[in-house]
């Protein structure tokens, strides 16, 4: 366990959402004692919702979060230069959205620092989920708007064309995010985007391509609802990387994000 998670343990309220989200277990509390039934888990109230941004909107809250995050990052990376992030006019000169973006950027800086300096993927899993939720919603809204204006590929069905748009633009956005924060990704890394995840068996080697994988969690952004009965999802779990969870991110309008915990291994081969 890393320093960041230990430090914030004292400040947790006994009820309600945690003060900070440092692990997937904080976002999906059911994952702590997942009964290995692969039942989809919903995110905790407040992680994505309006209340998640309430503190950022409040000036004192934003300042408090800013300095707490900077402190945490510097504990891991003493060379971190927060002066470059602090806006010239101070936080009080920012709009509500500007404060939210500033705090989100710092959270990502923290995730990148823990990943690069300590090989800790916990923060990166959480912040990637936070980013993907927003990116998927934006991409879906854009794609629907384009479809309504008949500007998508005419050879595809409306749903396919929207799905392709979301899939492609979110993938590109995630690469941009990781590049801009200096997070290494790709084949052989602990973070992958649209790369093969191999499964070795007695009969040889096969692979699946999750939209992204960060350590022991695979991420799939999609329009459709998926469960453990989907061959694709069982394939993700069978990979040599042994994911403990597959996180599904759907547009909020279609149901939003949820997590599928790893089922017993026997389940992964039941439908073969």
């Amino acid at each position: 366990m890393t320093g960041g998670a230990e430090e914030e343990g004292e400040s947790r309220r006994s009820n309600g959402p945690p003060d900070d989200y440092t692990r997937l277990e904080d976002v999906f509390p059911g994952l702590r004692d997942a009964p290995a039934l692969a039942i989809p888990l919903a995110p905790i109230d407040g992680f994505f919702g309006v209340s998640a941004g309430a503190n950022e909107a409040d000036l004192d809250g934003a300042l408090g979060q800013y300095w707490a995050l900077v402190h945490q990052i510097k504990q891991v990376d003493p060379t971190f230069a927060d002066e470059e992030l602090f806006p010239p006019g101070g936080i009080d000169g920012l709009t509500r959205q500007g404060r939210t973006n500033l705090i989100n950027n710092l959270r990502m800086e923290r995730a990148a620092a823990y990943y690069r300096m300590r090989g800790d993927v916990g923060f990166l899993q959480v912040e990637t989920l936070r980013f993907l939720k927003g990116a998927v919603d934006v991409a879906y809204e854009e794609a629907v708007s384009e479809a309504d204006a008949s500007r998508l590929q005419p050879r595809l069905s409306r749903e396919e064309a929207i799905g392709n748009w979301v899939d492609f633009t979110v993938r590109k956005d995630l690469k941009k995010l990781f590049d801009s924060f200096g997070i290494p990704y790709g084949p052989g890394e602990d973070a992958t985007i649209n790369n093969r995840d191999y499964e070795s068996s007695e009969s040889g080697q096969s692979y699946r391509i999750p939209d992204a994988r960060i350590g022991d969690a695979s991420f799939d952004w999609t329009l459709s609802s998926k469960t453990i009965s989907a061959p694709q999802i069982r394939g993700f779990f069978r990979a040599d990387s042994l994911p403990r969870a597959v996180v599904i991110i759907r547009p909020s309008e279609l149901g939003g994000a949820y997590l599928i915990p790893r089922p017993p291994d026997a389940w992964l081969y039941l439908w073969l």
Binding site: W165, K172, D179
Partner: protein
């Protein structure tokens, strides 16, 4: 402000991916996620042109200069029609398709 590491295409496949993304996001390339406030026409075309520079040996000099010229023309068209109301954006997107064809041909020949 902190310098941002760009996502520069490293091969023809990544260049094609970048062009498709440009097709979807043109003419203004505005980011609506709030995470990439630095993203604008200048930034996106720098990514494209540096990507073309990365694959210059594969393209050959003639094709490289042809594609750079097309990139410049496309940028001028997008900047002339930022609201996509005058038809110039459509012409810029047609150039993207032409660039895709040239890149695919170069990939086949390499």
């Amino acid at each position: 402000m902190k310098p941002v590491k760009m996502t520069i295409p490293q091969d023809i496949g990544e260049l094609l991916e970048h062009l498709i993304w440009m097709l979807l996001k043109s003419p203004k390339f505005i980011d609506k996620t709030g995470r990439f406030p630095f993203q604008d026409v200048e930034y996106v075309f720098r990514e494209l042109n540096e990507g073309l520079s990365n694959v210059r040996p594969t393209l050959g000099e003639e094709r490289y200069h042809q594609l750079m010229g097309m990139s410049d023309r496309m940028r001028a068209l997008f900047e002339a029609d930022p609201e996509n109301t005058m038809g110039e954006t459509r012409k810029g997107r047609d150039i993207i398709h032409e660039m895709e064809d040239i890149l695919r041909q170069a990939r086949q020949e390499s």
